[in-house]
Amino acid sequence: MENKEIELIVNGKRLDGRGLHDLRPIKIKVGVLEDADGSASVEWGGNKVVAGVYGPRECIPRHMENPYKAIVKCQYMMSTFCSLEEHGRMGPNRRSVEISKVIRQALENVIMVELFPKSQIEVYAIVLQADGGTRISALTAAVAALMDAGIPLRDTVIGVSVGKAGDKLIADLGKMEDNFGQSDVPIAFTNRDKDIVLLQMDGLLTKDELSKIIDLAFRKGEDINQLQRKAIENKYGETVSKRLRIG
């Protein structure tokens, strides 16, 4: 693999001209789908993800229902045209089943499932365009869609991918850094208590590097939280600013 020789960091700048700890431009929009109970779209650098939330509603099939809490169903899917590589038919495969599972487990930690016994909450996220870090983009879209649907949450979830490339710790990995870097750590945590709800690691890191990288993710999370806040405010923006003008 000659590509492995690729230099990802030159003079302290990354391939796309970003600094080591800079995020790509992020756009979050809420309420993009008409018929879903809640929906959101996220543009994170080159990633484009749309998420829709349905429920809580009657659990189907019945044998899956839980008399004490709602079950969360999550489906992450990559569209056939999302990247340069051949993705083939759009459907559950080994990778999408894994990512659906980790997103579901992250969301189960914050959704107040005990309020809705015998019900199901469905979360669908489709990647329209992929550019590294789609699971974090999908999770961000899913959380914004859940807030839009009015489903009670204990806390918001913030996701960011951090890693190591060219022997430097970096934040928000792009596709090249993801594929050819030394390590890739997608991490998601709750906003208030900083409880980690998703942590995966590709490649190798020392113990010290891992703790440093988690601190970096927490710092970057502040920016993403502000963007989430702004996205929700934009939905009501007009009405609220009007109300302020009355005073």
């Binding site: 809580p56 807030m147 204990r154 806390d155 918001t156 906003n191 405010e233 009405t239």
Partner: protein, 218 residues
């Protein structure tokens, strides 16, 4: 004198601007344990946190989104979706089953697709709602609005609802679950248009006047 007055107003507006803040799930809304509507806030370690998106003004939390959770004695509108030997099942925008027990309704019979108004009689441990006070709503149609906007459609002392009924001449029954039944009589299209406007502008002040003008103009 005039200058002073303007200055005063400015300060007031600034203060008001500071008071109204957006709240996301997980944000603290009170340092004391306070009780809000179920599913909109929760208490942890003696403090109250928001569970849904809302606004905080003068320490008063208003939810902007929400899922309907049945409470005792809530009036609901529903559609009969299943008929069994001893009960009818109702779709009432709730994830739990809503049942009308045959023993509670005497000789009354329903068909699939009938609209009914019910009252939440009893809530079982597993969430099942047993309906009480069942009435058939003849004809008409049911429209669906977000639950968090229902108080605005009814208004203070039902002012908005009576305005809608008076100006359009429709029969209307608003369920706490977000289903609204509108009868066949009167200007139905106009009423639906007004309800959609209320939903879109539910956070504005002076909405009753606006709707009143809208209904009068045509």
């Amino acid at each position: 004198m005039l200058k002073q007055k303007c200055y005063k107003n400015e300060i007031n507006s600034e203060k008001r601007g500071e008071k109204l803040v957006f709240v996301l799930p997980g944000d603290m809304i009170s340092e004391k344990p306070e009780h809000f509507k179920k599913g909109t806030a929760y208490i942890k370690d003696g403090k109250t946190y928001a569970a849904v998106v809302g606004t905080l003004e003068d320490g008063r939390f208003t939810s902007l989104e929400g899922v309907y959770l049945p409470m005792q004695d809530d009036p609901l509108v529903g559609v009969i979706i299943d008929e069994r030997h001893g009960n009818y099942t109702v779709d009432a925008n709730i994830s739990f089953p809503v049942l009308i027990l045959a023993k509670n309704i005497g000789r009354m019979r329903f068909r699939l697709g009938d609209y009914v108004s019910i009252r939440v009689g009893r809530i079982e441990d597993d969430g099942t709602v047993i309906a009480g006070d069942v009435r058939l709503l003849k004809g008409g149609k049911v429209i669906d609005v977000p639950t968090s906007k229902v108080p605005r459609i009814i208004g203070k002392k039902a002012s908005m609802l009576s305005l809608l009924k008076e100006k359009t001449g429709v029969e209307m029954f608003v369920g706490a679950n977000g289903y609204i039944w509108i009868g066949d009589r009167g200007k139905v299209t106009k009423a639906i248009k007004a309800i959609k406007t209320i939903v879109a502008k539910a956070h504005l002040t002076g909405l009753t006047d606006e709707i009143s003008k809208m209904l009068e103009s045509g």
